[in-house]
């Protein structure tokens, strides 16, 4: 059975990958390259425009209401280059007038004037990689900016008229303590922005961190737990509530683009290593930037999601949300009872208080969120 698409409730999202950074961070295993020259960025942008336009036939003015420029460091592009990409997207997709258009940004790569130019292109959200308010931690991560740079970047974005600003912070990083993380949280709250993402560090293989894993002084499991707990509490005191495991926002500021992932809507990725989920198929572009710039379409992965896999993914993703899964919607979508499919496996976790299952809604409790992978890997039928 083919997955029924849910177009009535949600339009598609678009993800554009910009794989350049001034310098790669020590923990990063995303697809990014130290930027070589303005020419290499220019030829990448023109390859992006090519890819978008090559697919005009396929997408035939599909309705879209979020665009997300992720990286890397997208703000290494000039406003003109953003304009070129947005124009080509406009030629292929039906981008609604109230779309959320986000650009990821690293501190000290954009100033007020630059932000103002982005705004004039219709970009209305920026997400800034702040990571920490402590210089020793930033250095340990291999970040090339100071916290002062981050504060200035946030202020510049605001001055340029961005009200929808997000900051990424990390916990569980080298040299971090519960106190130092609290300082980061308090400092970030002072910036008075409506969206925060708080991610736990994961040591990915192939990164410098993985090579030096043993020499890294990392907070233990209990401190990490306390850090996350503090984040949930403190942000809530500032009216920034958790709406997804790692994402916190003031009312009305949840990232509409990220919700596409969790709420199981289609999204289309362009650029090297970009991931797409379109009409029941997941695929990702190759990480080979040379081939990409030469106009080659290479897929790293391609997976047709059958009904069973779709049910699992739906639960895996939906349970990340504070609102959890609405079992009525699940049944409408898959034509199968959520309770008969997952109820038995869930029941020990409901009993232990890690999962709350009431009024047709299934969601993690506060303690359940901490151990979500453990629980998901127990209940999913993979």
């Amino acid at each position: 059975m083919k997955v029924k698409s849910d177009k009535a409730n949600g339009k598609s999202g678009i993800y554009i990958h910009i794989p350049f950074c001034r310098q790669k961070c020590l923990y990063c295993d995303f697809c990014s390259f130290p930027v070589a020259s303005a020419e290499s960025i220019a030829s990448y942008v023109s390859a992006l425009v090519d890819e978008i336009e090559r697919n005009a036939e396929k997408y035939r003015r599909r309705a879209v209401d979020t665009v997300y420029f992720g990286g890397g460091t997208p703000t290494l592009l000039t406003p003109k280059q953003f304009e070129a990409i947005l124009t080509s997207l406009g030629g292929v997709f039906d981008i609604s007038h109230d779309s959320e258009i986000t650009v990821e940004c690293n501190p000290a790569t954009a100033n007020e004037q630059y932000f103002a130019e982005l705004r004039s292109l219709g970009i209305n959200r920026v997400s800034i990689g702040v990571q920490s308010a402590n210089q020793n931690e930033l250095s340990a991560l291999g970040r090339i900016h100071s916290f002062g740079d981050a504060v200035k970047t946030v202020e510049d974005a605001k001055k340029a008229g961005f009200s929808n600003v997000s900051a990424d912070i990390m916990f569980g990083i080298p040299e971090q303590t519960e106190e130092s993380f609290l300082f980061t949280l308090e400092s970030i709250c002072k910036l008075d922005i409506p969206h925060i993402s708080a991610y736990g560090l994961k040591i990915e293989s192939g990164t410098p961190f993985a090579k030096n894993h043993k020499s890294l002084v990392l907070p233990d499991e209990d401190s990490e737990y306390n850090m996350y707990e503090t984040a949930v509490k403190l942000l809530s005191q500032h009216g920034i509530e958790r709406y997804e495991i790692s994402n916190f926002a003031k009312k009305g500021y949840a990232s509409r683009h990220n919700l596409k992932y969790w709420q199981y809507y289609d999204y289309i990725g362009f650029g090297v290593s970009a991931h797409s989920f379109v009409d029941g198929i997941r695929y990702s572009n190759s990480r080979d930037i040379k081939a990409y710039v030469n106009g080659l379409d290479i897929r790293d992965s391609f997976e047709r999601i059958d009904n069973r896999a779709a049910e699992n993914e739906y639960v895996m993703l939906g349970m990340r949300l504070s609102d959890g899964i609405d079992t009525t919607l699940f049944e409408k979508r898959f034509g199968e009872s959520f309770n008969s499919k997952f109820g038995p496996a869930l029941s020990p976790f409901v009993k232990s208080g890690h999962v709350i299952f009431e009024n047709g809604i299934c969601r993690f409790s506060n303690t359940g969120f901490y151990v979500s992978n453990y629980i998901l890997s127990s209940i999913l039928d993979m």
Binding site: G70, K202, Y228, S276
Partner: protein, 606 residues
Amino acid sequence: MQVSERMKHIRNFSIIAHIDHGKSTLADRILEATQTVSKRDMEEQLLDNMDLERERGITIKARAVKLNYRATNGEDYVFNLIDTPGHVDFNYEVSRSLNACDGALLVIDATQGIEAQTLANAYLAVDANLEVVPVINKIDLPSADVDRVRNEVEEIIGIPAQDCPAVSAKSGLNIESVLEKIITDVPSPVGDESAPLKALIFDSYYDSYLGVVVNIRVIDGEVKAGDKILLMSNGTTYEVVEVGTMEPFGLCKGECLRAGEVGYITASIKSVGDTRVGDTVTLAQNPTKEALPGFKAVKPMVYAGIYPADGARYGDLRDALDKLQLNDAALSFEPETSIALGFGFRCGFLGLLHMEVIEERLEREFNLDLITTAPSVIYEIKLKNGEVKMIDNPSNFPQPDTIEIASEPLVKANIITPTEFVGGLMDLCQDRRGEFVDMKYIDTTRVELHYRLPLNEIIYDFFNALKSRSRGYASLDYEIIGYFPSKLIKLDFLLNGEQVDALSFIVHEEKAYARARRITEKLKENIPRQLFEVPIQAAIGTKVIARETVKAMRKDVLAKCYGGDITRKKKLLEKQKEGKKKMRQLGSVQVSPEAFMAVLRLDDES
């Protein structure tokens, strides 16, 4: 008794040695030198044809091979080389194999001299009335001291060694002198060809085409196809299908086997359990008057529960054990169930080496992942009601208040060590509840220590401890001397308040606290954090004597799920799920088989 011309040209001998002194290499050279096997066809250590034996460099099963040799006097001889197992676990098999021989080559490493097993094996050979021919090996090594070893042999074992062959089996140096020595020093067999058949079973193995192939040494009379034979220990009779000899590359069918000869018989026998090593074969119609002395049914000394890591493979494990038992009468097993581990088998072994060998064969040849419980000896428990129980499984240990006397098996251990390690080894024996018997100086540099030790202390990694405390120089040999009263108690472990039966074991009172603490610590290290806090307790009856806690799992990874890369996230969860499938549910606690094994692996030296 008479010796015919035919018998004068037969030599039945075996090679005995301490481990690593070069027994198998010497056997290889003899095979080459008799040109029974050409160098080209030679696989290293042809006689040890089990993979495991070749890797460990030890012989596990006895086997024999017939060789032809033309001596320097121009006459042709038949050599039957009977290879014996080289480990204390198999002492009984060794003694039976030796009884099939008339002489033994005692191989001694010229750099090491006499070791515990050299002595033990030499005594076994002397007990079997064999002519012992010393062969000094490894003379090509720079540290070889041939004269010292000759003197040692004469002084310690008391057999002449001044003119014994000194060889390098590795390079082939002086191998001829060994062959000539076999002819001059090993007596030819004696026996009455016209008397009723009397033959000794020294090995048997199962062949899927022939059934059980029984290796025998004919003492008196003869046997041929069609004869009705009687196995004297159990009174069973069979009709002989085939007789023949063991040639280097396989069985060679023959007409008959006569007094003094070594060969095989097949008789549609279905299980090696029916053809016990040491038993006497005779003719059903015209039996010999007396069976050969020394037969005993081998009894397992060490027991452990073996469970499939994946419960669904219980049937495979049973089939595998069935197959191994076809060839290994010393292996016993019966089904048992553990609340923690599910369905498995309680298996009996001759000793720890035997157990390891069986485990490895199950894992390698049958591709099984196993969970093995801590090995246990058999305890003799006399109850207050007069009943006597033999306990091979801690789960069956009676309630303490019903026990009159609990006894455990003791061994007489013989340790040979350089003098500098005596102190450390005496501490070790003391620590293992050993009772000092005596100490003898072999020469100015080496000492022979005698202790009485509980067998259950020896099975807990005693050998490794011995080696590590003597930098590998000390050697050990032991024999069981019987059951003696002891203060034994059963130690139980509880996870989250529930007893885990597979972790229980029987231990001496004095050792209980230390071991309880160690195992609770190990459990703490090896049990992954669960969703709830897990108390770990060690208890004697209802009395808790050690306690640890595994803290509850606090958080798992909350990493960035980047740019819609759902596939990676899914793979992470799938991997986690795979890991969980292998988990054993111990009550409400999940433990991986690896963790379980880590807890059971008792390395007292750590």
